[in-house]
Subunit: 150 residues, 2 copies
DNA sequence: ACTTTACCTCAATATAACTTGAGGTTCTAT
DNA sequence: ATAGAACCTCAAGTTATATTGAGGTAAAGT
């Protein structure tokens, strides 16, 4: 296989995703490909990295929409440099820290509060949760909705 | 309103959820109610706590299915005691710690790896992610699938 | 050359966790 | 007594993130 023209099957295997997922990402504008004579997708080697970054970001809980926004900030005309990627990474790192802090906070109230036996509803932090994150959105964690991605 | 017979509207307001959400939780077996003469739902005061706990657990990323399993372990015949709730809390606390550890781990590799400029695909922890959590399931974070709830 | 594997498109299905809407009933306040 | 708020059921819709399947084409192996 040409070193610079990766097939979707190869991409999928290397990235640990299904072929259909790559199709899906392409449809969503997260990755790009060109076609060979027979209309089959071909990927640039850089796309491996892109997909890995998508997966890493998802683990942080960032939605595909937001990942797309971040990736859109990468240069189109050249292979992204180390600095380009580092900018992304540092943004997500902030997110990640915020999420960790949030979970730590939650943990601290969880044991002390769920198990506390208190029924003073006006005081209990779990009953009286002002946290927007708690009431917004649809999915399991959904910290994402409220966090700006710049 | 009778102190022991809460209406869905009141429940919804107190818990910060929609009425439809309470219907939904009931349908899923997460909460219970009885009906008054006119077929309207009435809730026991304990249900406030139940719903709060459901929401707290969701913030940790636990799915409704797993929350249900945990709640099912509470006694039906009596109001759950402090100890009953504490047992739940400590299980979820473990989950939470695991998730925090996971995110910390991810954070540590994120900056060093996404931004590192390395293209040694055999070594980069983001390219070569053996973590089951990363490749399973469908949602944003989905740490849940793999974690047993006992 | 022929077979098998990989690829293509497009539409439908899956899952979690809800929300919305239509059409109708019951409560509550004046 | 009556208006308006709150409630009821049941079906369909929503969002994110894919997966699955049908029907057909291209490429690769022998």
């Amino acid at each position: 296989m040409n070193k610079e023209e990766l097939t979707v099957g190869y991409m999928a295997k290397r990235c640990g995703v299904n072929v259909s997922t790559l199709h899906f990402y392409e449809e969503k504008g997260l990755i790009k490909s060109w076609r060979n004579q027979g209309n089959q997708r071909r990927y640039h080697r850089d796309t491996l990295r892109r997909v890995s970054v998508i997966k890493a970001a998802q683990k942080v809980g960032i939605t595909l929409d937001n990942i797309k926004k971040a990736l859109d900030s990468l240069p189109e005309n050249r292979t992204p440099t180390k600095e380009d990627w580092q900018l992304l990474a540092s943004n997500w790192n902030e997110e990640l820290n915020a999420r960790i802090a949030y979970l730590e906070n939650l943990r601290d109230s969880l044991t002390s509060c769920i198990g506390c036996g208190c029924l003073s509803l006006t005081q209990c932090p779990i009953y009286n949760d002002q946290d927007k994150l708690a009431t917004e959105g649809t999915g399991p964690i959904l910290l994402d909705r409220k966090v700006s991605m710049k």
